[in-house]
């Protein structure tokens, strides 16, 4: 089976699993405990925290709060930062941000959504025009999880801050962390990441926070994570996260260029009479999103799976919502809207696999066209 839905989740890295195991066996201690085992584990969590932080940020300026997932990191940031006035985001956000913004209405904050360009990146000028003196938060996804488009968050954050220096800028970096060469710039106040997208384990995420930014916790209790996120630390997940990140950052540049070549190979091997490309060339090399004309992505996905290849779709699995909110916001035309397929890669992806995936997609689409033709 060829697995090309790595943007949904990816196979845990063996090294990460190895790193986790001692904390499920002999090092099972609570890091808040004051005896030897607890102190030891606490120290290892501290080192993992420092390492993860150092991957993309200046340790002197930022701190890192472990959460249970990327969505929790997003929610913590949004509901802390957007307290009044308005909050600005894009139409291309992951549901964790988009739905939180929708919920802000019930908290007396006006959510504002900036439109997208055809590739799924935000229309930067339109976003800036939504920012005013009453804006308390701007949130912009770093890499669009449905199209792979990269938003230039450093420039946009700078422009936002020059328009309103008091508002906070956050970014969901779940599809960017460990996959893009990037460091947090001073205008970025909050940044959400997740372990299981880079070979870590599900159940671990983190929020990077510029020092001095005040957050209100979603979870109260024993005061772990500096009081920002109570609850006993997920020690094995945190250690696995650090191990996965270590490997990912060591090979980041070589993987970037390798996967970029594969993405283009896959793209050019797809039947142009059926598929149109949505992902931009300058997007993340980890994602290639295409749409098939007048076909449904979900059905294609199943026929492709019958051919031994697992891919993602751009839509929720529901006849009530057969189209994706984000892909619709990209302005994709009606005949392509339901036919979205997302191929997403990992370090394990090979050239043979992407070629086989293209063949499977072409053949599945041809089969579906033949089966649904009217005579």
């Amino acid at each position: 089976m060829i697995y090309l839905d790595n943007a949904a989740t990816t196979r845990p890295d063996e090294g990460a699993v190895e790193a986790a195991l001692p904390y499920l066996h002999e090092k099972f201690f609570n890091p808040s405990a004051l005896y030897g085992g607890g102190v030891l584990v606490h120290e290892e969590v501290r080192r993992a925290r420092e390492f993860l932080l150092s991957c993309i940020a200046d340790k002197a300026r930022y701190e890192l709060i472990f959460t249970s997932c990327g969505s929790e990191a997003d929610n913590t940031a949004i509901f802390s930062a957007a307290r009044r006035g308005n909050a600005v985001t894009s139409a291309g956000e992951h549901a964790a941000v988009y739905q939180s913004f929708t919920e802000l209405k019930n908290c007396g904050v006006e959510p504002r959504f900036a439109p997208l360009k055809g590739d799924g990146s935000v229309d930067g000028e339109a976003l800036l025009s939504l920012v005013d003196e009453k804006t308390t938060l701007v949130s912009l996804v770093h890499v669009n999880n449905e199209t792979g488009a990269v938003n230039d968050i450093a420039s946009i954050a700078k422009a936002v801050k020059s328009k309103n220096p008091r508002c906070l800028f956050m970014s969901d970096g779940v599809q960017a962390f460990g996959k893009l060469l990037f460091r947090l710039t001073p205008e970025i106040d909050l940044y959400a990441i997740s372990a299981h997208k880079i070979g870590g384990l599900k159940g671990t995420g983190a929020l990077l926070k510029r020092k001095g930014v005040s957050l209100s916790p979603l979870i109260f209790g024993g005061g772990q994570e500096g009081g920002f996120r109570s609850g006993t630390e997920n020690v094995f997940g945190i250690l696995a996260f650090a191990a996965a990140a270590k490997k990912k950052f060591m090979t980041l540049e070589s993987e970037f260029s390798r996967l970029k070549t594969y993405r283009e190979q896959l793209s050019s091997a797809l039947d142009k009479g059926i598929f149109t490309r949505i992902s931009p060339k300058d997007g993340t090399p980890y994602i290639l999103t295409v749409a098939a004309k007048n076909l449904r992505g979900e059905i294609l996905q199943r026929l492709i799976e019958e051919r031994g290849v697992i891919v993602g779709t751009g839509s929720a699995c529901s006849s009530k919502h057969p189209t994706s909110r984000v892909i619709t916001a990209c302005g994709v035309t009606k005949e392509y809207l339901q036919g979205v397929l997302r191929f997403s890669f990992s370090p394990a992806t090979t050239e043979e696999e992407v070629i086989a995936a293209a063949e499977a997609a072409n053949s599945a689409a041809r089969e579906l066209i033949a089966r649904t033709a009217r005579s």
Partner: protein
């Protein structure tokens, strides 16, 4: 003195010579419902008694009993000896401490030395002495303490009747095949027939690859929920994708659903006959959608000879939703899913299909071959083992 649950049955008492059969099925169903919970089930004259159970799980036992078709009512009470001391103690235990009350005695043991009236008076007097806040009202009391003097030297003492779900024991009214889609209506239709004692076999049509496994999982969940009442959770699925493709390719678009439903009825009938099923059950409600007009129903009905039971035919959607909530299938039913009927859904389905036109269009298809193919796709899931 021991805590017991007294179960009274509905309608079975109307039966004549085959009453024993109904009672046996009823007691098997009660045992099935209580499976996994420590208990003993005893048959008394005209009622059943659950005893020797873990008192901390009384509510759970009652909840399960309340779902067994054939239960008219049940009461949680006490089983005790028939000496006055024992009757006094039990009556005090079950009687509320204040309000108006009366004592109502029934003596199955006619040799018992005191009459019902004497027992009412003596036990009532004792309760008044013990609880000064109580007051007797024999016409419209807030509480009634029932004493049931059995022939075996025991008495059942209780004060409240809980309504059962009624109906007939499942398994006493034959076997039907429910066409279950995953929507709101069909589980309710299955419930209605199970309530009248019918064993319900479930048949679901899917349209892989056009519908996904999520839709099938949802139907499995509905089957499990229905099994809480029907005690049978066998689900059979058939794939109708190729039938739909052929209809789509060769026949008038507005008849897509009409023709598909004729295939579904035929397949359901063939399946029913293969398992000894005596009828089909559908969740159709007159006029609810295009295929449920009288013309649509006529068109589907024309291809089968087994009776098609449509217990919801005269129900409004609101009424069906209310029932669905009551039986607990609503929350699952409203989860998003892909109904195979929507895959090749025409923009304007025929609301009043003419049978002659339907038959003419169907003539373009190799019905026998398509039926064989669909029957060969049969998959069976026994969900009771889960």
């Amino acid at each position: 003195m021991e805590k017991v649950i007294i179960i009274r049955y509905a309608e079975i008492h109307l039966k004549g010579k085959n009453r024993g059969y109904f009672e046996r099925v009823f007691s098997v169903n009660l045992e099935r419902a209580l499976k996994g919970l420590k208990h003993e089930l005893h048959r008394l004259s005209g009622r059943y008694l659950v005893a020797c159970f873990d008192e901390s799980r009384t509510e759970e036992i009652c909840e399960r009993i309340s779902r067994v078709f054939g239960v008219h009512s049940y009461s949680v009470g006490l089983s005790t000896g028939t000496s006055m001391g024992e009757l006094f103690a039990a009556a005090k235990e079950v009687c509320p401490k204040e309000g108006t009350f009366k004592v109502d005695t029934h003596r199955a043991d006619k040799k018992y030395p005191k009459t019902s009236m004497q027992l009412n008076a003596e036990v009532g007097g004792y309760l008044l002495d013990q609880n000064p806040a109580l007051k007797v009202d024999v016409h419209a009391p807030q509480h009634t303490v029932f004493l049931d003097i059995r022939e075996n030297g025991t008495a059942l003492v209780f004060s409240a009747f809980e309504a059962g779900v009624g109906g007939m024991p499942v398994g006493t009214s034959g076997k039907g095949v429910l066409l279950i889609s995953g929507g709101i209506d069909s589980p309710v239709a299955g419930y209605m027939m199970a309530k009248r004692g019918m064993s319900v076999e479930l048949l679901h049509f899917h349209s892989y690859p056009y519908t996904n496994d999520g839709a099938k999982e949802k139907v499995k969940e509905l089957a499990r929920e229905l099994a809480r009442f029907s005690h049978s959770a066998r689900l059979t699925t058939l794939n109708v994708a190729h039938i739909q493709e052929e209809i789509h390719a060769k026949c008038a678009a507005e008849l897509n659903v009409t023709l598909l439903r004729r295939f579904m009825y035929r397949l359901a009938e063939r399946f029913a006959r293969s398992i000894g099923g005596q009828c089909l059950i559908t969740g159709e409600s007159l006029g609810q959608v295009a295929s449920q007009t009288i013309e649509g129903i006529t068109s589907s009905n024309a291809v089968v000879t087994l009776p098609v039971l449509r217990p919801l035919i005269g129900f409004d959607k609101d009424e069906i939703i209310t029932l669905s909530r009551k039986i607990g299938t609503y929350e699952t039913s409203v989860l998003p899913y892909e109904d195979c009927c929507t895959v090749f859904l025409p923009e304007f389905p025929a609301i009043k299909p003419k049978l002659s036109f339907v038959e003419e269009e169907e003539g373009k298809l190799d019905v026998a071959r398509l039926m064989e193919e669909a029957m060969a796709s049969r998959e069976v899931y026994d969900l009771s083992e889960d």
